[in-house]
Symmetry: C2
Subunit: 328 residues, 2 copies
C-alpha cells in the first residue's frame, strides 16, 4: 500500500481539493428533522443523541466524499455522548473509508511510551487478542500532543510505518491562549519552533514518494506569521491546518502553510461546513430542510476559495510536487 502521505497527495490532486471536513457533531445544532426522529424513537437520551449524530455524519460523508480528500473526526464530540457516541464514531470511520475518504481521528492523544503504544495500536494498527490480530479503529491518521516528547510520539511513528498510516503532531494550535506555552522563548526561539525542528527530524522516519513525510504537523491558520516560520523549519512535513472558517482563518491566512511550490497543506473546516444551513448565504438559500445541499455548496465554495488563493499566490493549485521543485 502507498504511504499515508502519498495517498493523501494523490487523492488531493485527483479531486483538486486541499480541504478536510471536520466532523464535530453537537446534538443541539443538528437539523431539527433528524433530532425529532431520534427523540421520537429513543426519547431525550444519549442514545438518541448518538443516533442523530450518526445519521448526520453519515449523510455529510456521502455529500462531501466527491469533493474532499479527508474527513477529520473530532473525538471529543463523540466521547461527549458516552460510549454510544464512541461506537458511532468507530462505525463512521469505516463508512467514510468506504466512500473513498481518508480518515483523520483528531484526539490529540499524548502519553508515556507504554500508553502511547496502546493508543497507536488501537487507532492506527492492530491489537492481538489471543494471538489473533484485530483492528479496533483502522483510522488513516491521528493527531498527537507533543508535550511529553519523543517517546510519546515514537510508538505512533512505528505503527504508522508498519501500517502505512499518518500522524499529525500539534506544533502551533489555533486558540487564543496557545502562546502561553507554545510561544515561550527558550534558547532564542519559541517552544513551537523547537517542536518544529524536532518533528522535522522525526519525520525522516516516514518519508513518502512525493517529497513529504507521513509525520505531519498541526499548524493553525489563525497565526499566519508563525505558520510561515514553521513552514520554513519543516519543509518535508505536511500541514493539517485548523482554524479556517468558524475560528476566523481566511484562505489568505492558510497560504503561508504551503511551501513555495504551492504544495504541503490540507485545510480543515468543521462547523462552517457541517452547519452551513445556519449561516448566510446558505441559511437563506437552503434552510434546515435542505441542509445537505447547504453542506455541499459550502464545501464547493471552500474548495474554490482555496484554489483561487493558491492560483493567485503560487500560479497553480497545490497539486503533486514536481520531481525537481527547484526548477519551478
Amino acid at each position: 500500500m502507498p504511504t499515508f502521505v502519498d495517498r493523501l497527495i494523490e487523492q488531493a490532486a485527483l479531486k483538486s481539493s486541499w480541504a478536510v471536513v471536520g466532523l464535530d457533531p453537537q446534538v443541539e445544532l443538528l437539523p431539527p428533522s433528524l433530532l425529532e426522529s431520534a427523540y421520537g424513537e429513543y426519547g431525550h437520551t444519549l442514545e438518541a443523541g448518538a443516533h442523530a449524530a450518526s445519521e448526520f455524519c453519515q449523510r455529510i460523508i456521502d455529500v462531501v466524499a466527491p469533493h474532499v480528500v479527508a474527513v477529520k473526526f473530532q473525538s471529543a464530540c463523540f466521547e461527549r455522548l458516552g460510549w454510544r457516541g464512541v461506537k458511532v464514531c468507530a462505525e463512521l470511520v469505516r463508512h467514510a473509508q468506504e466512500q473513498g475518504l481518508l480518515v483523520i481521528l483528531d484526539g490529540k492523544r499524548g502519553d508515556v511510551g507504554f500508553t502511547a503504544q496502546a493508543y497507536a495500536e488501537g487507532y492506527l494498527g492492530e491489537v492481538e487478542v489471543g494471538g489473533v490480530p484485530q483492528s479496533p479503529w483502522g483510522a488513516d491518521a491521528v493527531t498527537v500532543n507533543p508535550y511529553l516528547g519523543w517517546d510519546s510520539i515514537q510508538p505512533f511513528v512505528e505503527v504508522a510505518k508498519e501500517y502505512d498510516k499518518g500522524v499529525f503532531v500539534l506544533v502551533k494550535t489555533s486558540n487564543l491562549s496557545s502562546g502561553q506555552v507554545q510561544d515561550l522563548v527558550a534558547e532564542g526561539r519559541q517552544v513551537y519552533a523547537h517542536l518544529a525542528e524536532l518533528v522535522s527530524a522525526w519525520a525522516e522516519e516516514l518519508m513518502g514518494l512525493h517529497g513529504y513525510s507521513s509525520l505531519g504537523a498541526v499548524v493553525a491558520a489563525t497565526f499566519p506569521r508563525d505558520a510561515a516560520r514553521i513552514r520554513a523549519l519543516m519543509p518535508h512535513c505536511y500541514f493539517l491546518v485548523p482554524g479556517y472558517g468558524a475560528q476566523g482563518g481566511t484562505a489568505q491566512d492558510v497560504m503561508p502553510s504551503f511551501n513555495p511550490d504551492g504544495t504541503g497543506a490540507i485545510i480543515n473546516s468543521g462547523r462552517n461546513i457541517i452547519y452551513a444551513y445556519y449561516r448566510p448565504p446558505y441559511a437563506e438559500e437552503f434552510g434546515p430542510e435542505r441542509w445537505e445541499e447547504a453542506v455541499e455548496a459550502a464545501v464547493i465554495a471552500m474548495n474554490d476559495e482555496i484554489n483561487a488563493a493558491l492560483a493567485e499566490r503560487f500560479g497553480r493549485p497545490g497539486s503533486i510536487r514536481p520531481q525537481k521543485p527547484d526548477l519551478l
Copy 2:
C-alpha cells in the same frame, strides 16, 4: 457536596492511604483463567478482550476498595479495545464509585476551548439532549494536557466548579523524554516551572476547605528534584504522582511531592499492583490462580511503604492538613 479535593483528603485520612490504583488492563497480561473463559464465550475477538478486561478490573476494584482512596483508569487501555473497551470503562467508573472509590479518568485530553468544553461536559459534567441533562461518564476527576494554554483548561475548571469535580494538569511527566519540551528554559526557568506557576494561579478558582485546590497537578516520581521545585511553586495544588513502582519510582522518590507538613499528594501505581501475581514475592506466594490475593497484598505493601516513608520524613502520615500548618 464537598469539593473533589476535600472528598479526596477526607477519604485518604479515613483509609490512611495516599495510594491510587491504576487500572491499565492489557489483554495479554490478564490472568489465564479469565482469558480462557472469555475466549471460550466470544472467541479471539475484541469483545472477548473487553469482557476479560471488565471482569479483571471489576474484581480489582472490589479487592482494593477498602485500602485506597481512588482508582485511575488509563483510558488508552480501554480505547485500544475499540468502542467495546470504552463501554466497559464507562461501566467500571460507576462500579468503582459504588464501592466508595473516587474515579480519576486519565485521558490527558487537551484541545481548543469549544472542544475542551465537550470533553469537560462529557467526562465530568452533564450533556443536554433535547433539554434533558444526561451524565455520560460521571468521573470524579480527569487529567489534562496544558500544551494549548488556559483556554483549553478553563472549561474543565468551570465544569469542575459546577459539579464539584477535580482536574489534574500535566506539569512534569514520568517518561525519559519528558524533558524535551518540559525542561526547555525560557526566561530563566523551565517550561514545567512556567506551567507550575500558571496552574497554581488557576487553582485559586477551585480551593476547598483543607487548604488545597481541586485543580491539581501531575508531577512524576521519576524526577524527585524537579518535583521538589514544583512542590514549592504550587503549595496549594494536590499532586497526582505517576511513576511509582513499574516505572522505577520508590517511596523515597515520592516524598518531595508532599508539602513540609506531610500532606498534598496521592501516588499512583498501576502495573506493579494489578499484575502483582507476575512478580516476586507475589508470583511465588500466590501465582496466577490466586491473583486477587496477590493484588491485595501488593496494595497493602504499597500503603505500608508510603506511610513508613511519610512517618520517617514528616513524623506523621500525610493526613488532613491542620488548620494552622505554620504551627507544626
